[in-house]
Point group: C2
Chain length 220, copies 2
């Protein structure tokens, strides 16, 4: 499904270069559950944004289903992002003026569809993350772990084949984190591909394999 060769990402800050990724080679089969682990600042979120077609590498190649992502048209990219990939951001990225269910409905608005069906789907997935009593709260009216779960729900609402989750249980107590793990496990059993940046041992122990990153390269 995913094949990257020598992915580099350089951030230029005045006369300083920050080498966030220094040549990442990654092969991920469809249906795998991968845990990405590594120190703070080692390049995990940068890599996830590139894998999710939300950012482009400075150099290197990224084949998604055998096609070079950097050659895709704007339409094809947008389609991949909206239909194929569900992204849980480390900082949630919820829209502050929208209620929880409106935030979760948003990805469904692009594919057309009846409003009632969209509403039902959003409420169903919010229930799956335990937020049925919080659907009308805006992000500022939610706890940290509740915002995290809205972000997870939004990533799943479009039934994506590839789920990219950047530290999905960082703000959750162990019981709620376990429930999210169970949700990911059932998604995996349905045949989806999951890539989770995590330092949660429960997630890394369930994963098919662990990819370790340090200083912008994969080690081991």
């Amino acid at each position: 499904l995913i094949e990257t060769k020598q992915i580099k990402k350089v951030y230029k800050m005045g006369n300083i270069d920050v080498n966030a990724l220094r040549g990442v080679n990654l092969n991920i089969e469809e249906g795998e559950f991968i845990a990405i682990m590594g120190p703070s600042g080692s390049g995990k979120s940068t890599l996830m944004h590139i894998l999710g077609c939300l950012d482009t590498p400075t150099s290197g190649t990224y084949l998604f289903r055998g096609r070079e992502v950097q050659d895709l048209s704007e339409d094809e990219l947008a389609n991949t992002r909206n239909r194929e990939v569900g992204f849980v951001f480390q900082t949630f990225n919820l829209l502050p003026r929208m209620k929880a269910f409106e935030n979760v409905e948003l990805p469904l608005m692009y594919s057309g569809g009846r409003a009632a069906a969209i509403r039902k789907r959003a409420l169903d997935v919010l229930e799956r993350v335990g937020l049925e009593d919080r659907v009308n709260h805006r992000p500022t009216e939610l706890s940290g772990g509740e915002r995290q779960r809205v972000a997870i729900a939004r990533a799943l609402v479009n039934n994506p084949k590839l789920v990219l989750a950047d530290e999905p249980t960082g703000n959750l107590d162990s019981k709620t984190g376990h429930e999210i793990m169970e949700l990911f496990r059932s998604l995996h059993k349905e045949g989806r591909t999951l890539i989770a940046v995590t330092h949660d041992p429960e997630i890394s122990e369930y994963a098919d394999r662990i990819v370790k990153i340090r200083d912008g390269i994969i080690i081991d």
Copy 2:
């Protein structure tokens, strides 16, 4: 140092009342290291904001050093917040247009003092959290765990007697989280009082005691 009686916090949303805290009684001695644990949405951050004088309860009393916080003048409250309390927010609350060192200098600006001394103090505490190479980055140019550490540095820059940390290692890998724990341990040995909301067993195991919250009340 801290004594609360029957603290309640009710959020009104239209015709619905959200009872975030339903009568919290807490006694904390100076020099204690307390871990607060509980499920997502149970009221931990709400309680922390009240303890840090950043929010007021709907009812109940809060004595800080024997004085009712709700009777303090605006000046006395501001003084307590700036000089006595260091608060690490669960969502960091960094100013996006300021560099890391400028964010950390901010609490020192209120107490007057030479610019050179303020700069040095900010850089010292950023070094203590491992960010000496990131001091000129703005929050959007930092990883999640780096932002969390800037928030920690900013909370400590004023040498507060009371440190309130709301999930301070949620975005950190185990090694970096351990370094933060060691920093908290040394602060504690210096005689400071620390209250940390956490689901990190390393922090809860070091704590003098664990306060458990569920549905807005303390249990056990």
